[in-house]
Amino acid sequence: MSDPHSRAAAGHSAQTHGTDGRHKEDFLRKYVFSNDHKVIGIQYGITSLIFLLFGFTLMMMMRWQLAYPEQPIPAMRFALPFGLVGLIVLAFSRLRPGIHMVVGMAILLMGWLVYWLATNDEMMPGGIMLPEFYNSLGAMHGTIMVFLGVVPLAVGAFGNYVMPLQIGAPDMAFPKLNMISYWVYFVGGVVMLSSFFVPGGAANSGWTSYPPLSDIATTGQTAWLIGMVFLITSSLLGSVNFIVTIIQLRAKGLAFMRLPFFVWAQFVTAFLLLLAFPPLEAAGILQLMDRLAGTSFFLPSGLVVSGELLPNTGGGSPLLWQHLFWFLAHPEVYVLILPAMGIIAEIIANNTRKPLWGYKSLVYAAAFLGFMSFIVWAHHMFLTGMGTSISSFFQTTTMIISIPSVIILSALLISLHGGSIRFNSAMLFALAFLPMFGIGGLTGLPLGLSSSDIALHDTYYVIGHFHYVVAPGTIFALFAGIYYWFPKVTGRILNERLGKVHFWGSFVCMNVIFFPMLIQGLAGVSRRLYDGGSQYAHALGVLYLNEWMSVGAWAMALFQVVFVVNLFLSLRKGEAAAQNHWQATTLDWSATPTPPVAHGNFARVPEVFRGPYEYSVPGAAADFTPQNQPL
């Protein structure tokens, strides 16, 4: 099975490097401050997965509170899995420095942090969660998931690793800048995490940080803002790098309309990050000024907080923050979904063994989606006092933006038709993405109409809507991507049987968690309630769902243990992957060994002769014709 050439090349990075004295690199240069986009991609990947795990655990603590309000949290039960998984990973490390060691230690550290949080007397007197602490958990869960987990994984890891390979580039256009982006992200993450230790705990004004609440919130909010400034800076540097790389470093013959859809998705995403993030950076600076320099950008005059007149001069506007925040945050949600769609498109084409249906319309739809995403933001603000004209404008743009998503989904669905579908783990996750994103996207429609949003705004319907798109949507796509590219990165295949257990378990749990949220939302249960709505009369009939959802979430955790074990088991013992393991057409698989050449990616500069998905071309010898196969 294993292609001898690829194994030899794989060996290159591992062994031959040290012995061939020409470029002997020290450990730091090679693994920590590397300029190689592949190493940086892996760094992003590991870091963001650990953050995902942490965001996941914060959520599990919230779910305890929602299911059993006022009951002491069993701290050990939340920390123990970390201990177990951390130790398993450490065991794989055979106590030698390396990836296993780092990740194992990081997981143990997270476990300690969780235990510390759950037993912290200030936040959890007697193990019972204070409302403020619930709010911290919610805000940090949202922030960590979005800014430290999913975006760095989808863009920083997948984009960084795969995109240059797919366009036949030796590296990113600015390798040093790439390294800096990673480290700035890392610092931002550390600042965010450390905010749990400041007096008053981490930020507790929601991931949206609406003032005046956030202006007068405890110190954690300052840490949140500083962390955000780092994360934004990192994203900006990264996006410049991505755009320049895609425009400048495409291999010979790789015209824009021959780019794999994944690259297109990253391209549009990079523009969103580049142009939407700065306003939030500006807003962050203004909020920092409010908090540290006593200004009143977001504070109107005459605020009375807990009976005391606020000393600020006032004259500011709380809604200004909302505009600046959502100017970023709406494009941001497409940042969460576009790379996911890119991954899905690659995997579907590969596993149906046929070209994507409507490649052009996919590309145009993605670009249009990106463009429109800048002018729909105020659909998050319908209930801030909008008149008819402006609300009509924003609901119209919102309805318009749903069309490209419908087009993308339709094209992907129709792509299945006529295929010869292989159901491997990657494909299962990719396929599940379609209906799950479907539910998430469709539930966006009643939110996008301002009149129905009156009933649904700020309810669990919103929570259900976006979790369907980000969790069984994006997270599934990321899982799919991990199953698909893991062989490329490591030279080994993930265990298929464990992969299927992971898939079916996650698929069922996701729906057990999130479908009830839609039901609760329609019944009028508000979000961000630390008791899960147990004080609401109208919530009465749907309250029992809280426990279901929580059990679903914990069961979900069990299936993730399978995943983590699979990752580390396969890394050590997995079956070796062939060079073009999936018999794919794109350059990442067809033009470079597995894993790719350590510096420069390609032994020879590839040249491209055809479109990205030439599968099952009539009359061709194999059922795939790589892009770099000469005519």
């Binding site: 109107p300 907080v305 299945l416 379609l434 479907g438 429609l445 147990s534 609401y536």
Partner: protein, 369 residues
């Protein structure tokens, strides 16, 4: 469709419009999802590689999907132009005249709604920041002639039936969300802005409550009651920790000579902790007494001898719980009170950031104050 969505009871004149829009959108969603879902499943089965050995390079050749997309555009346009925009416009442009309407001011703060009625003269008295205090949260200037007959309440909104209500909404501190679920009213209270909202209540709270109980099976709610387990609340507390307000001793504590210095039920205040530390006591048995009164027992509890310690439907009190602990009972089945008494207004009105507001207090009485 609305019937199947489990929307809460609707007690307002305009609620039906909103509900029917929600229903219509869900038809669209349902059709798209089911349509594509069936297609999806059929294709997966039909084109699995065990059956279809090789793929077809061209795949689907027709452009049916374009028509579907066009159809979606048309339906969305209809929902937008015929339903959503007109409904919205009626909510925000077509305010009824203040004559013939009940006009109230609501000023939100953490954690209360301050409600201000103009009184019989229909004119709101002046308010001033300087006058704001605990006993006058609105800062109403009672020397103003218009203020003499003004009525202010906290968390209780009483409105007449069948007559438009105009609420002028604002906030004193942070952004809150006024959410009258059963009246399909939701509006952010933004400090610095005065936002008007209007609706016509058509049902009393008693009627709505009635609908709710027929809508939701109480059985179900009762079967999901929480269990408040006592042993896990009990804890060993190192006495040298600072004072632990809210913690109650579960056993008497004696000093070295054997004389009791604190008895079961005493609270671990900072002073008491000092006392303990002074007497050289390192640990005590204590338990937390957080918000016991919010729970109601759902079973009868008796001691070994059969004497009733805590009957069903009784509020959990300190004595009752202490009695249970002393009798060696390890847990109580209890539930949050608000479940039988759903119309107690919630005092934790979260913020918009954390947006929540309880909505439904005892507010609909027949006559206006």
């Amino acid at each position: 469709m609305e019937k199947y969505l489990g929307l809460p009871p609707d007690g307002s004149a305009h609620g039906a419009q909103i509900d029917s829009l929600i229903g219509l959108v869900h038809w669209l969603m349902f059709a798209l999802f089911v349509g594509w879902g069936i297609y999806f499943v059929i294709t997966l089965v039909r084109f699995r590689n065990s059956k279809q050995k090789s793929a077809n390079y061209h795949g689907v050749r027709n452009h049916v999907s374009t028509y579907i997309e066009a159809g979606v555009i048309v339906v969305e346009a209809v929902l937008l132009v015929i339903f959503s925009i007109p409904i919205w416009s009626e909510r925000v442009d077509a305010f009824p005249s203040e004559h013939g309407s009940t006009v109230v001011r609501i000023v939100a703060e953490q954690f209360a709604w301050n409600i201000h009625y103009p009184g019989s003269d229909g004119v709101f008295g002046k308010t001033s920041l300087a006058l704001v205090g605990t006993d006058n949260p609105l800062g109403l200037d009672r020397t103003d002639p218009a203020a003499v007959d003004d009525i202010t309440t906290i968390n209780q909104l009483n409105l007449p039936l069948g007559k438009p209500v105009i609420i002028h909404l604002t906030s004193k501190d942070v952004i809150h969300s006024l959410n009258l679920t059963a009246f399909r009213v939701k509006q952010d209270a933004v400090p610095g802005l005065n936002i008007p909202v209007w609706f016509v209540p058509t049902k009393t709270s008693a009627e709505i409550r009635g609908e709710m109980s027929s809508l939701f099976s109480l059985e179900e709610a009762v079967s999901s009651l929480t269990t408040l387990s006592l042993p896990s609340v009990e804890d060993i507390v190192p006495a040298q920790d600072a004072g632990r307000e809210g913690w109650l001793l579960t056993a008497d504590v004696a000093d070295a000579e054997g004389s009791t210095i604190l008895s079961a039920g005493d609270e671990l205040t900072a002073d008491n902790v000092n006392l303990l530390v002074g007497a050289g006591v390192a640990t005590v048995r204590a338990r937390i007494a957080a918000n016991l009164e919010r729970y109601v027992s759902t079973e009868n509890y008796a001691d070994a001898g059969g004497a009733v310690l805590l009957p069903m439907h009784e509020t959990l009190t300190e004595e009752a719980v202490t009695g249970l602990i002393n009798a060696g009972i390890s847990g109580v089945k209890a539930r949050l009170k608000s479940m039988t008494d759903p119309w107690v207004l919630n005092e934790t009105l979260g913020a918009k950031d954390g947006s929540t507001i309880a909505s439904t207090g005892e507010y609909l009485t027949e006559e206006i104050i």
